[in-house]
C-alpha cells in the first residue's frame, strides 16, 4: 500500500513537473523571486489602457498576461506559499485583462484570509464586482433593434461606472469597455445598414461619433479605418447597383471611393500608429479597386 502511495505521489509529481529552464537565458530565464513578477505588474497597474496599448515586457509579451501566467505557475509549483500575495496579484492581473468576475472572486478569497491585504481586497472586490455586473449584461438580442437596446442598457451601466471612478486608474478600464460597446453598436448598425432606414447615413453617424468621442483613445486609428471600410463598402455597393455602363456615373463613384481612400490615407500616414501598415495595405488595395473599376467603365 505504501509502495502504491509512493508511486502515485511520484507520478503526480512527474505529471505536474514544471518545464525546465533548460539553457534559457536573459529575458526568457525562469524567475527566482516572486518580487520580480509583482514588481513588473505593479509598475503597470496605473497605466492608461484607454489611451495607450497594454505594456509589453522585453520579450514582447503582454505584461498582464505574462504576470498572470507566472503567478498561476507559482501556485502550481509552490502551492500555498505566499498565497494571499499571489492571489491578490493574480486578481489584479485578471482585472486589468477585463476578467472582472474572476478578479472579484480572487479579491474575495484574499479578503476572508487574515492577510494584511484583506482590507484592500474587500474594496477591490466591491469594485471588481460592480464591473463584473456591468460586464455580465447581455449584448445581443433576437433582432437588430433588440441588440441595439441591449447595448444601450449596457452602455448606461458602464457610463455610471465611468462617472463613479473618474480620476482613478479604474476609470480607464471603464472607458475601454464603453468604447468597445460603442464600437460594437456602430458595427451592428454598419452591418445592418441595408435593412435600417437611412442605413448608410446612420452607420456613418455612428462611426463618426465613435471617432469624435474617442479622439484620445489608442484605438482612434482603428475607428478611422472602420469608417473607411464603411465608405469603401458604400462605393462597392454603388458599383454593384450601377453595373451597366450607362448607369454608372464616374464622378459619383469617385466621390464615394475617395472618401474611403481619404480615411485610409489618414492612418497610412500616421507615424507611430500600429494600424499604419494595415492602412497602407487597405489604401493600396482599395486604390487598385478604384483604378480597376474606372478602367472597366472607360
Amino acid at each position: 500500500m505504501r509502495t502504491l502511495a509512493a508511486a502515485l505521489l511520484l507520478a503526480a509529481a512527474l505529471a505536474s513537473a514544471p518545464a525546465r529552464a533548460g539553457d534559457a537565458t536573459g529575458a526568457y530565464a525562469p524567475y527566482e523571486d516572486l518580487l520580480e513578477v509583482l514588481g513588473d505588474l505593479t509598475w503597470h497597474l496605473r497605466d492608461d489602457l484607454y489611451r495607450f496599448p497594454p505594456p509589453k515586457d522585453p520579450t514582447g509579451h503582454d505584461v498582464y498576461r505574462l504576470a498572470l501566467s507566472r503567478l498561476e505557475h507559482w501556485e502550481k509549483r509552490y502551492p500555498g506559499r505566499l498565497r494571499d500575495v499571489v492571489g491578490y496579484a493574480r486578481a489584479e492581473a485578471l482585472e486589468r485583462l477585463g476578467e472582472y468576475a474572476k478578479a472579484a472572486d480572487g479579491y474575495g478569497q484574499v479578503a476572508v484570509e487574515g492577510s494584511p491585504l484583506a482590507d484592500q481586497a474587500r474594496t477591490a472586490r466591491e469594485r471588481a464586482g460592480a464591473f463584473a455586473q456591468a460586464a455580465a449584461l447581455p449584448e445581443e438580442g433576437p433582432d437588430v433593434n433588440a441588440t441595439l437596446g441591449a447595448l444601450r442598457r449596457k452602455l448606461d451601466a458602464w457610463g455610471r461606472l465611468v462617472e463613479r471612478w473618474t480620476g482613478t486608474p479604474y476609470e480607464t478600464a471603464a472607458l475601454v469597455e464603453e468604447e468597445r460597446l460603442e464600437r460594437t453598436a456602430a458595427m451592428v448598425v454598419a452591418r445592418n445598414r441595408r435593412i435600417l432606414e437611412d442605413g448608410n447615413l446612420t452607420a456613418e453617424h455612428a462611426l463618426r461619433f465613435l471617432v469624435q468621442k474617442h479622439a484620445d483613445s489608442r484605438n482612434l486609428p482603428d475607428h478611422i479605418l472602420r469608417l473607411g471600410d464603411l465608405y469603401a463598402d458604400v462605393a462597392r455597393d454603388y458599383v454593384e447597383q450601377h453595373e451597366r455602363p450607362l448607369a454608372f456615373d464616374e464622378d459619383e463613384f469617385v466621390q464615394r471611393a475617395d472618401r474611403a481612400l481619404d480615411m485610409y490615407r489618414k492612418v497610412a500616414a500616421w507615424d507611430g500608429a500600429r494600424e499604419k501598415p494595415e492602412a497602407q495595405g487597405r489604401f493600396a488595395a482599395f486604390d487598385a479597386y478604384k483604378t480597376s473599376v474606372l478602367a472597366r467603365y472607360r
Binding site: R20, G22, L38, K56, P116, D271
Partner: protein
C-alpha cells in the same frame, strides 16, 4: 467567330460616322452605296462586304479615269469587312491587306491597333523584346567595367593590375548575368497570360500548336519561379527570426507541386526554431525549481515588501523595501527589494532616482538583475534614449552608405572577390572604399536625399510626444522630429513639429514651406482630377513661394469643367471645322494676317452655350477673348464636330517617346556616361527595348 463579330461590331460606330461624314461630301449615288455597305455590315455578310470592297475599288478607278478624286472610302469598307472575317487568322490577313493598301491615317491606326492587341502578337513581341534585352544586358554589363574613364581604368594607368581587375570584374559580372539568364521575367509572365487567353478564345487558330508549346515551356518556368520565390521569402523571414512568416511561406512552398524538397530542409529548421522558442517562452513563465526561501530572520520584512508591492502604494513600497535593505543588506533578496524600491520611486514621480536605482540593480548578477538589465535595454523604458539610439543608428548607416555604398549583396561580393583575386590589395582602391569619386558622389546623394530610413526616429519621437506631451524633453523632441521628417521628405509634418519648437526661425519655416509647396506641385502633376484642389491649396497656403507662381499659371491654363478647347493647331489641321456645319468661323482668322483678325494659339473654347475665341489684339501686342452666343442646336453641332476632330487627333497622334531622337531608332548602339557609386564611366552599349506594356503591375 463570335470574337471576330464582336470586334467588327465594336469597330462599327466610329467608322460608320466616318463613312457618313465622308459620304456627305460625295454625291447621292455614293451615299446610297455607303448605305448598302452599312446594311451588309449589319447583316454580317462577309462575302457581300468583300464584293463591296471590290466595287468601291472599281468606282475609285473609274473616278480617277474620269479625272475625279477617288471616294476615299475603299479603305474604310475594307476595314469594315476585316471585322467580319470568320477566324482570327483570316481577320489578321484581312487587316494586313488593309494596311498594304495604304489607308488613311485613321483606318491605318485602327487596323494597326487591331493587329497589335492580338494576344499572340503581343506575347511574341514581349518575348522578342525580352530576349533582346537579356542579350543586351549581358553585353552591356560585360563592356561597362572596361569603360574608358571608369575609376578602375584611370587607376589602371598607374597600376596595370587594376586593368586585369576590370577584366576579371567584366568576366565575373558576365558569369553572374549568364547564371541568371534564364530567370522568369515580367515579360514572360505577361506573354504566358496572353497565350493562354488566346487559346481560350481561339482554340482553332493555326498557331495553336506553337502557342501550346510556348505555354508549356513558360508554365514550367513560372512554376519553378513561384517555388523559388516562396522559398526565398521563407528564407528571408527565417533569417530575420520572423518564424511565423517563415512557417507560412515554407508551408505554402511545401504544398506546391515539385517544390516540397526545396522547402523541406528550411521548414524543418523553422519547426525546430519554433519549438525552441516555445520552450524558452514556457520556461520564462515558471519559477526556478528551487526558488530560494527567505531566512527566518528576514521573513517578515520580505513579506512586508511583497505585500506593499502587491498593494501597489508607492510610499508603502519605498518604506518596506528601505526597511528590508537597512536590516538585511547582504540578503540574496536585497536586489529584489532594491527593484521594488526603484519601482516605488518611479510610481511616486521620482523618475531620475528610480532610473539610477535600476541601473544599480541591473549590475547585479542575480535573476532580478538580469531582468532589470533587459528592461533597461528595451526602448519602451527610456524613450529619449531610444530616440538617441535611433539617431545614432541612422548616422552610422548614412556614414556606411557614403563610404561603402549600398548593402553588399552576393553580386557585389563576387565582384569584389574577383577584383581582389586579380590585383590583391591594390584592388581595394577600385572596390569603392577609397574611390574618392564614388564617396563624393554618394555624399552628394546623401545630402540631397537621405538614403537611410528615418522611420524609427519618427516612431520613437511620436510615441514619446503621445505618451508624455508635457515632458521636459518635448520641445527637443519636436525639433528632432522636424529634422527627421525633413530628411524623410515629409515636409508637412516637419513644418508642424518645427512650429511647436520654442523659437522657430522664420527663415527655416519659409524654406520648409517652399519644399512642401514644391512637393505638392509635383503631386498635382500626377493627381488627375485632384490636381486643381492641390494647386489651389498651394496658392492659398503658400502664396509667397515659387511653386505658388507655377500653380497660379497652371490654374490659369487649365480648362474649366465641361469646356472643350480646340487649339489653333487643331483648327489648322482640320479646316473642315471652320465650316458652317461645325464652328462657323471666318477662314481669315487663320490666314496669318493679324490686321484682319487672327486666332491665338489658345484657339477657341466651347462652354456654356458659348464660343470663346482667343484673338490677337489689333493693333498692339497681347490677346483678348471674344465671346459668341450660340443657339442650342448650333452649339451641339459645333461641339460634336470639335470632339470628333479632337478624337481623330488623339487616335492618329504619333506616340513618340520624348526622350527618343528623330533618327535614334536607326542606331542600335549608345554611348553613355555615368557618375555612380563606382566613379565616372563612359561606355558603349546595345540599346534596350522599352517595356511598353500598359498593365505592367499585373505581371510583376
Amino acid at each position: 467567330m463570335r470574337a471576330a463579330l464582336l470586334l467588327a461590331l465594336l469597330a462599327l460606330p466610329a467608322h460608320a460616322d466616318d463613312l457618313v461624314g465622308e459620304a456627305a461630301s460625295a454625291d447621292a449615288a455614293i451615299e446610297e452605296r455607303v448605305r448598302l455597305v452599312l446594311g451588309h455590315r449589319l447583316e454580317g455578310k462577309f462575302e457581300v462586304l468583300d464584293a463591296d470592297v471590290a466595287s468601291f475599288a472599281a468606282l475609285d478607278d473609274e473616278r480617277r479615269a474620269r479625272g475625279l478624286s477617288p471616294t476615299g472610302l475603299t479603305d474604310d469598307v475594307r476595314y469594315l469587312a476585316a471585322g467580319l472575317a470568320f477566324t482570327r487568322d483570316a481577320q489578321r490577313d484581312a487587316l494586313r491587306a488593309v494596311l498594304d493598301a495604304h489607308p488613311d491615317p485613321i483606318v491605318r491606326k485602327c487596323a494597326e491597333h487591331r493587329l497589335e492587341v492580338d494576344d499572340a502578337a503581343r506575347a511574341d513581341q514581349l518575348l522578342a523584346d525580352d530576349r533582346h534585352n537579356r542579350r543586351a544586358g549581358v553585353v552591356n554589363d560585360f563592356v561597362r567595367p572596361l569603360g574608358i574613364f571608369s575609376g578602375g581604368a584611370l587607376l589602371a594607368a598607374l597600376n596595370p593590375f587594376l586593368l586585369a581587375g576590370s577584366a576579371i570584374d567584366s568576366v565575373a559580372t558576365t558569369a553572374i548575368n549568364l547564371w541568371h539568364y534564364g530567370r522568369l521575367s515580367r515579360q514572360e509572365r505577361e506573354a504566358l497570360v496572353h497565350y493562354r487567353t488566346l487559346l481560350e478564345r481561339e482554340p482553332d487558330t493555326g498557331d495553336a500548336p506553337e502557342i501550346a508549346r510556348a505555354i508549356r515551356q513558360l508554365g514550367t518556368k513560372r512554376a519553378a519561379a513561384v517555388c523559388d520565390d516562396t522559398v526565398a521569402a521563407g528564407r528571408r523571414a527565417f533569417e530575420a527570426h520572423d518564424l511565423d512568416h517563415a512557417a507560412f511561406y515554407l508551408l505554402d512552398a511545401h504544398r506546391l507541386d515539385g517544390c516540397g524538397k526545396k522547402a523541406e530542409r528550411l521548414l524543418a529548421r523553422t519547426d525546430e526554431a519554433r519549438a525552441r522558442r516555445a520552450a524558452e517562452e514556457e520556461a520564462g513563465r515558471w519559477p526556478v525549481d528551487d526558488a530560494p526561501s527567505p531566512r527566518l530572520t528576514e521573513l517578515e520584512d520580505y513579506r512586508a515588501v511583497l505585500v506593499a508591492t502587491a498593494a501597489g502604494t508607492p510610499s508603502g513600497m519605498i518604506e518596506a523595501a528601505s526597511h528590508f535593505l537597512e536590516r538585511h543588506d547582504g540578503s540574496r533578496f536585497a536586489p529584489s527589494a532594491r527593484y521594488a524600491r526603484a519601482i516605488g520611486r518611479d510610481l511616486a514621480g521620482h523618475h531620475e532616482e528610480a532610473r539610477d536605482a535600476l541601473a544599480v540593480v541591473a549590475r547585479d548578477k542575480s535573476s532580478v538583475g538580469r531582468h532589470v538589465a533587459s528592461l533597461l535595454a528595451s526602448p519602451d523604458f527610456d524613450r529619449v534614449a531610444a530616440i538617441d539610439e535611433a539617431e545614432r543608428r541612422h548616422r552610422r548607416d548614412v556614414v556606411r552608405y557614403v563610404f561603402l555604398g549600398g548593402r553588399v549583396d552576393g553580386r557585389t561580393a563576387v565582384y569584389n572577390a574577383a577584383q581582389l583575386g586579380a590585383a590583391g590589395v591594390q584592388a581595394a582602391e577600385s572596390i569603392g572604399i577609397f574611390n574618392v569619386i564614388g564617396v563624393a558622389t554618394r555624399a552628394w546623394q546623401a545630402w540631397r536625399h537621405d538614403p537611410v530610413s528615418n522611420q524609427t526616429i519618427i516612431d520613437r519621437g511620436e510615441e514619446l510626444l503621445a505618451r508624455e506631451p508635457s515632458s521636459p524633453h518635448a520641445a527637443d523632441v519636436h525639433a528632432r522630429l522636424a529634422d527627421a521628417y525633413e530628411r524623410a521628405g515629409n515636409y508637412g509634418r516637419a513644418l508642424m513639429h518645427y512650429h511647436a519648437t520654442p523659437d522657430p526661425s522664420p527663415k527655416r519655416i519659409a524654406a520648409l514651406e517652399a519644399k512642401l509647396a514644391d512637393r505638392m506641385l509635383d503631386d498635382a502633376g500626377h493627381a488627375g482630377s485632384g490636381n486643381r484642389t492641390l494647386l489651389e491649396a498651394i496658392v492659398r497656403h503658400f502664396g509667397e513661394t515659387k511653386a505658388a507662381d507655377k500653380a497660379r499659371k497652371r490654374l490659369h491654363d487649365m480648362p474649366g469643367t465641361g469646356e472643350t478647347v480646340i487649339a489653333r493647331d487643331v483648327l489648322d489641321a482640320n479646316p473642315a471645322l471652320l465650316g458652317p456645319g461645325a464652328l462657323d468661323l471666318d477662314p481669315r482668322l487663320l490666314d496669318g494676317d493679324r490686321t484682319n483678325g487672327e486666332l491665338a494659339d489658345a484657339g477657341v473654347t466651347l462652354a456654356d452655350g458659348e464660343l470663346r475665341l482667343t484673338l490677337y489684339n489689333v493693333p498692339g501686342p497681347g490677346q483678348h477673348v471674344e465671346t459668341r452666343s450660340l443657339s442650342p442646336d448650333v452649339y451641339a453641332r459645333a461641339r460634336g464636330a470639335a470632339e470628333e476632330a479632337l478624337y481623330a487627333r488623339l487616335l492618329t497622334a504619333v506616340r513618340k517617346d520624348t526622350d527618343t531622337g528623330r533618327y535614334e531608332r536607326y542606331m542600335p548602339f549608345f554611348i553613355q556616361g555615368t557618375v555612380g557609386d563606382d566613379g565616372v564611366a563612359v561606355y558603349p552599349g546595345v540599346k534596350m527595348r522599352r517595356d511598353q506594356s500598359e498593365d505592367r503591375e499585373l505581371y510583376e
